[in-house]
Amino acid sequence: AELKKVGLAVANLQANFFNQIKQSVEAEAKKRGIEVITVDAKGDGPTQVNQIQDLLTQNIGALIYIPAGAAAATVPVKLAKNAGVPVVNVDRNAEGAPGDTFLATDSVASAKNVCDYILKQAGGKGKMVIIHGQKGTTPEVDRSKGCAESLKAYPDVKVVAEQYSNIWGQDEGFQIMQNMLQANPDISIVFAQADALALGAAQAIKVGNPSQKIVLGGFDGDTAALEALGKGVFDVTATQQTQKMGRDAVANAVKLAAGEKVPPVQLMDATLTTKDNVAGFIANHP
């Protein structure tokens, strides 16, 4: 059937990454003349189940589902399938109840790229700290895994401290970094698992004003962060292709609604972004 109405369940609009996807989905759908109903779970899984119930009540033709909570819940997909509505999972997928297709960044590989870059920049040695995302969440686990792989090749780099954020927030990044610098004044490498954390950490470094150069890597490619990267506030990030994700999500929803077959997993790269190539991304976010 032709897709007239699509439901978009967002995990948390307060996170720039999700907000970009949302805007891209809405833009793409508008172009195609499809109505989008957007709901925001504010990070709460149960709220999202409620919202998906409400979406299904409105006879949507397909569901674009960005799961909230530490990991994806299975129930929304089950509910949608029961109602005969195809599901496009974005960013996270639930074991046991996957969506009809799954669009995501290959977080492990991209995190490895970021860490490779900062470790090389630092000359392959020195003291490193990691500012993790919210402990136990899929992105946190994957990005930790990718960076750990990279670290294997650099035995001279010593990870001296690791701290976790609760809401991936900028002020958390600031505070954590400030305390880390306090405890270990001689660190030279920082991996912050999200751009917001990296921006906070960069500010803390600016405030602390250490004598050595500190290489700082982030992740996500948030719009604001890319601008900061261009100004040299921090060194590298992995730009996730949020615009493409949004466009692809709509395209896949249209195909699924028409009964076409699509691959169950579609991973895309996050492009390693530095001062050299950032201009293009700022002008035109992928």
């Binding site: 967002v10 609009l13 109903i37 957007t38 709901v39 925001d40 990070g43 709460d44 899984g45 149960p46 189940v49 409620n50 919202q51 119930q53 409400d54 979406l55 009540t57 409105q58 006879n59 909570g69 530490a70 990991a71 819940a73 299975t74 129930v75 639930a94 074991e95 046991g96 919210q134 402990k135 136990g136």
Partner: protein
């Protein structure tokens, strides 16, 4: 002669409406909301959507009953969201990691919840820590323990019969979890109205010193109320686990304010001694219907936050204006 246990707030006359203890304003608000939504969206006024709303308020409804008790005695409970998470994680761990049968796991979860309620109750009565602080501390601590059980990981996959409790609509209407919520509400209403122990809550909330001099053991009442509130939060956690077929330690974050809002919108006074379960049910429904309706109306998420704020004020402010007129 007029019945005695009519509402605690206004005049002596009046029928069943008065049983709602000062919640007439919110009730009018709820009805207005429903009428508005029925007219402006097709999807709202249908059996299916009604049942959805009931499903959606079970967790809030069960917690709100416990919090009503707490607020009636003049206390406050900020720990319910965290205790809910603790209960979920204890249940998940016992069932899926320790491998014990579900009923045992549920039992453990409720015991863990009761224990946190007991700690709060003792802090409030014996150590005279203000309830706000004691439950705020428990909110932090219970969340920490919930996280530590699996190092922040979720646990997925429970027996089919368990998840079916939240899905199977018996007689095509009520799921077991909705039925459970209704039973809890009814039991609480009967308890508050017709049992001596229930009236004790009003006495303690009205004036603890008067209650103590009247031979009521206020400490036992207080501890009991916090334990019951925690057990109901734990029960809500189990319902949520059935609904999500998974448990995760970040569940229930921020629920405490939602729950208190529902109770207060329903006319229970934060200073204690006045209010009741009928009002709380209305408060819970207002929040449930509002969220459902805003989604059906396709209101943008950010605008939803503004509207929710406005409606909450209207629901409570209407009651004031109604009373001033009277």
């Amino acid at each position: 002669m007029v019945a005695l246990d009519i509402n605690e707030q206004s005049g002596p006359s009046g029928g069943w409406l008065k049983k709602l203890s000062g919640a007439t304003g919110p009730l009018i608000g709820l009805l207005a909301l429903c009428i508005f939504l029925s007219i402006s969206t097709d999807a709202f006024l249908s059996l299916r959507n009604g049942l959805n709303i009931l499903d959606q308020i079970t967790v809030l409804g069960i917690m709100a009953v416990g919090v009503t008790f707490v607020i009636l005695i003049g206390g406050i409970d900020l720990s319910v969201g965290s205790v809910l998470a603790l209960s979920m994680m204890v249940m998940g761990w016992t069932a899926n990691i320790a491998g014990m049968p579900m009923p045992v796991a549920i039992g453990f979860a409720l015991v863990a919840s009761a224990a946190s309620g007991l700690v709060v109750g003792l802090l409030v009565t014996v150590f005279r820590v203000p309830a706000f602080i004691a439950t705020l501390a428990m909110m932090s601590a219970a969340r920490g323990v919930a996280n530590m059980i699996t190092d922040g990981q979720q646990i997925v996959g429970f027996p089919d019969w368990f998840t079916m409790l939240a899905i199977d609509r018996h007689f095509g209407i009520l799921t077991a979890t909705v039925f459970l919520m209704l039973a809890v509400v009814l039991a609480a209403w009967i308890f508050l109205h017709f049992r001596a122990e229930g009236r004790m809550l009003y006495a303690v909330g009205g004036n603890p010193e008067v209650a103590r001099l009247a031979g009521i053991n206020t400490q036992v009442v207080t501890i009991g109320v916090y334990v019951v509130s925690a057990i109901l939060a734990g029960l809500a956690g189990i319902v949520l686990a059935a609904r999500l077929d998974s448990v995760q330690p970040s569940s229930g974050f921020g629920y405490e304010l939602d729950t208190i809002a529902a109770v207060v919108i329903g006319g229970t006074s934060l200073s204690g001694g006045a209010g009741g379960i009928g009002g709380t049910l209305i408060g819970v429904l207002i929040i449930g219907v509002l969220r459902n309706g805003l989604n059906l109306l396709n209101v943008s998420p950010f605008l939803q936050q503004v509207i929710i704020g406005v409606v909450i004020v209207l629901a409570v402010g209407a009651e004031t204006i109604r009373r001033r007129r009277a």
